[in-house]
């Protein structure tokens, strides 16, 4: 399994043709207390960069972009009752949705862990 990162602070962990998507710990720290996560419907298809979810804090609603194109297979039901999981476990239990990849080649445009850490350090 390999984890990639976007400049918009999403992470995507790829396992063959399937992947899990969430936002990074850095992103959650910038957003503050998450109050609600608007997740896509299973079966929804997105292109790379499309808005796939919305993460609400008290005073802001932030669009979450699909890192690569694909189709949603499952969403994280635990977030319905506990949106704070995105704060406490952004890169594990606070994942947002799972998807199948339309074109694994799009992953090449993303960053690896080291590159993302360097990117965040520059912000």
């Amino acid at each position: 399994m390999t984890r990639y990162f976007t400049k918009d602070h999403e992470w995507i962990e790829v396992d063959g043709g399937n992947a899990t998507v969430g936002i990074t710990d850095y992103a959650q720290s910038q957003l503050g207390d998450i109050t609600y996560v608007d997740l896509p419907a299973a079966g929804a298809s997105f292109g790379a960069g499309d808005t796939a979810a919305v993460v609400d804090s008290v005073k802001a609603a932030s669009d979450i972009y699909c890192p690569v194109g694909g189709t949603v297979t499952e969403t994280n039901g635990a977030l319905e009752g506990e949106p704070e999981l995105v704060n406490t476990q952004a890169e594990s239990g606070g994942w947002l949705f799972r998807m199948t990849l339309a074109d694994a080649g799009q992953l090449g445009a993303l960053m690896d862990q080291a590159a993302y850490e360097a990117y965040v350090k520059e912000l």
């Binding site: 609600y36 008290v58 005073k59 609603a61």
Partner: protein, 452 residues
């Protein structure tokens, strides 16, 4: 000028502090030629309190106030007795001159009122939740349609023939620009609303069916039956209540399966006011809370653990979501919501029931008296406090002639449905606890004279 505290000496000292030589230094960014060199031409200068009051009182005197004539108008705006304490309390400066409660630590008064208001509306409507109010019933009705399109991801709304034509027109204005499809119809002068025709119009592409309850002719549609039909097609039922007092007698729409209940709250606490400001009511199911338009007040605790209230779920709203907001609404009708809430706190559920019974009683008496006039037919079998009669001639003329006799006798269907010749002889008559036996006798006598 009695409203401006600065003296000439103050102004001079302040300009000196700023480093300006004159007031127009501060308007230096206005391009030359666009800054007026004196008061706008063609308008009078300031006037004393006495002079202004005299002018406005003269204009007020040119109107026939509802309270000074036998009065039987409804059709979306209703006259009930408003207890004196309501107007006294809404004039307290801390309510009247406060802003939207964005700083909750110093706005708990307004916020607690909104929380109580939301609870009162939800219990009146039989819905899980209600919002903190909207502009009026007609705009709330459109907001319900828009919400239904978001929930169902469909764009077709079926409007009942009994929906107030101004509500239909308001929705049509909006739908013309959003591209949603509205299916509307004109009512027929028959005793019962055509629920079957409405149900037949619901299809698998329908986002919602919008039903006024009681309808514009005072008839009472079978909401439970329509709700079941809507649900079978995956559509929502939007119930529209223009006379909240009617809900003292007939079942709450939420209890009958309505998914969204909207209404005009003016009848309680607010008054007629020639059409505004009024009070939009909006209730729905808990599961749709994040699709709701308008402000919401929620309970929480403060840093010391004390109960308190805040505006919440504001990420739905325009000031955060901008072009992705659920609605462009900004202002609600806070002071009207306060008036409604105070009136409701005095009445309670028991008082509302009695108020509805009294209004209904007057309607039964009025209907019986009008129905006894030769050539006049009462349309409805069932009604609460508003019903339709069919006259032997054009009701628009009759209404004007009644006014010349000093009687405000109702609303003609010709005014509401211009061009619908089949409705021209229809007259809507509404009553409330304020109508006396003498009022009813005066209406009957005047109508006989006008029809003679």
């Amino acid at each position: 000028m009695r409203y401006l505290p600065l003296s000439e000496a103050d102004r001079a000292a302040m300009l000196a502090r700023i480093g300006a030589t004159g007031i127009d230094d501060l308007f230096a960014d206005v391009p030359k030629g666009l800054l007026l060199d004196g008061p706008v031409k063609g308008l009078p200068n300031h006037a004393s309190e006495m002079a202004v009051e005299r002018h406005m009182a003269a204009l007020a005197g040119q109107n026939l106030a509802a309270g000074s004539a036998p009065f039987f108008l409804g059709a979306g705006a209703y006259r009930h007795h408003v207890p004196a304490s309501v107007d006294h309390l809404i004039q307290r400066g801390e309510f009247l001159t406060a802003y939207t409660p964005y700083q909750p630590e110093i706005a708990q008064g307004t916020l607690q009122v909104l929380f109580e208001f939301q609870t009162q509306v939800a219990r009146l409507f039989g819905t899980d939740l209600a919002n903190a109010s909207m502009y009026d019933g007609s705009t709330a009705c459109w907001e319900a349609i828009a919400m239904a399109t978001r929930v169902t991801k469909r764009s077709r709304a079926v409007l009942s023939a009994g929906l107030h034509p101004h509500y239909v027109a308001t929705a049509q204005t909006m739908a013309r620009f959003t591209g949603d499809t509205l299916v509307a119809a004109t009512p027929q002068l028959v005793a019962e609303a055509d629920d079957a025709a409405l149900i037949a119009a619901i299809d698998g592409e329908t986002a919602c069916v919008v039903v006024q309850y009681p309808d514009v002719l005072g008839r009472i549609p079978d909401l439970a039956r329509i709700a079941a039909a809507a649900q079978a097609q995956g559509a929502l039922l939007v119930a529209v209540v223009t006379e909240p007092v009617a809900l003292g007698l007939i079942e709450a729409p939420g209890k009958l399966g309505a998914d969204i209940v909207v209404g005009e709250g003016q009848a309680l606490g607010v008054g007629l006011q020639f059409g505004g400001p009024y009070l939009g009511l909006f209730g729905t199911r808990e599961k749709y809370v994040r699709q709701m338009p308008g402000r919401l007040c929620g309970e929480t605790v403060d840093a010391e653990g004390r109960r308190g209230y805040v505006l919440t779920l504001s990420t739905r709203e325009q000031h955060i979501r901008r072009e992705k907001a659920t609605s462009n609404i900004c202002t609600n009708a806070g002071l009207c919501a306060l008036a409604f809430s105070i009136h409701m706190s005095l009445l309670g559920g028991a008082g509302l029931e009695r108020l509805a019974q009294l209004s209904h009683q007057r309607a039964r008496e009025t209907a019986a008296a009008l129905g006894a006039i030769p050539g006049v037919r009462v349309l409805n079998d069932a009604f609460v406090n508003e019903f339709a009669v069919v006259l032997p001639k054009d009701a628009r003329t009759v209404v004007r002639d009644l006014a010349d006799c000093g009687v405000l006798g109702g609303v003609s269907l010709g005014r509401l449905y211009p061009g619908a010749t089949g409705l021209a002889n229809g007259l809507l008559v509404a009553t409330s606890e304020l109508n006396t036996d003498e009022d009813i006798a005066a209406l009957v006598a005047a109508l006989k004279e006008v029809l003679a």
